[in-house]
């Protein structure tokens, strides 16, 4: 299918590439369908583009790659909601904030997205780990270095 986006123009999206969020994202509960876009040749960063709102796209990063040792606290119920057997089988995405001063860019480790890569169902969860902060600085990634955990 062809999808109009504000940032990337018209995209062709294969049905199997559509991520489905039955509950939407926090603050964007009406947005249920997204697609991952690789732009800019970045090793770490991708875009999570809404298929419901052309102007809505988030920069995302795999928090496991960005912050070694990161593993969100996910309940059985949350895993069941996207038909995952274990948290280890989840693809993870963390939402990135890129402020005008990019050295202050942060990833949200408190509210990661868990994705079932087989069914493409996804859910944003609140992780209760003590160092799973809402604003983890991640600018070090641009030097190719993983990020040291806060605290």
């Amino acid at each position: 299918m062809m999808v109009e986006t504000t940032r990337f123009g018209t995209l062709e999206v294969l049905p199997g590439h559509v991520l489905t969020f039955p509950e939407g994202l926090l603050g964007f509960e009406d947005c249920h369908r997204f697609v991952l876009i690789e732009k800019g040749g970045s090793k770490f960063f991708r875009w999570l583009q809404s298929l419901d709102r052309p102007e809505l796209a988030f920069v995302v990063v795999d928090p496991r790659r960005a912050v070694p040792g990161y593993e969100p606290v996910v309940t059985r119920w949350e895993l069941d909601s996207v038909k995952l057997r274990s948290a280890a089988g989840a693809v993870l995405l963390a939402i990135v904030v890129v402020p005008p001063d990019v050295r202050k860019m942060t990833a949200n480790l408190q509210a990661p997205i868990i994705v079932n890569p087989e069914t493409m169902e996804a859910r944003q969860v609140i992780s209760t780990g003590p160092d799973h902060v809402i604003r983890q600085p991640i600018f070090d990634l641009f030097n190719g270095a993983p990020v040291r955990k806060t605290g």
Partner: protein, 76 residues
């Protein structure tokens, strides 16, 4: 919204095995603080509602992130 009055040491039970108990009430009026005890299965996350509000606000900030830094560097 269901509204109940409870005294200290009284509880409400929600569904399977979730108990919320009033432990202590301090102060009066708008500045009063109620200390609650919550017993729930390990699989139930108990969160302050502000956490959801903070995350929603952070998501709105993220939605305003206009470009990846590499792209900015290429443009300039």
């Amino acid at each position: 919204m269901l509204v109940l009055s409870r005294r200290v040491d009284e509880s409400v039970i929600i569904a399977d095995g979730i108990e919320i108990k009033v432990i202590e009430v301090r102060g009066r009026g708008a500045s009063a603080v109620v200390k609650l005890g919550i017993r729930a299965p390990a699989d139930v996350k108990v969160l302050r509602k502000e956490v959801f509000d903070e995350v929603a606000a952070e998501m709105r900030r993220a939605a305003m992130s206009s470009a990846l830094p590499e792209e900015e560097q290429q443009d300039s």
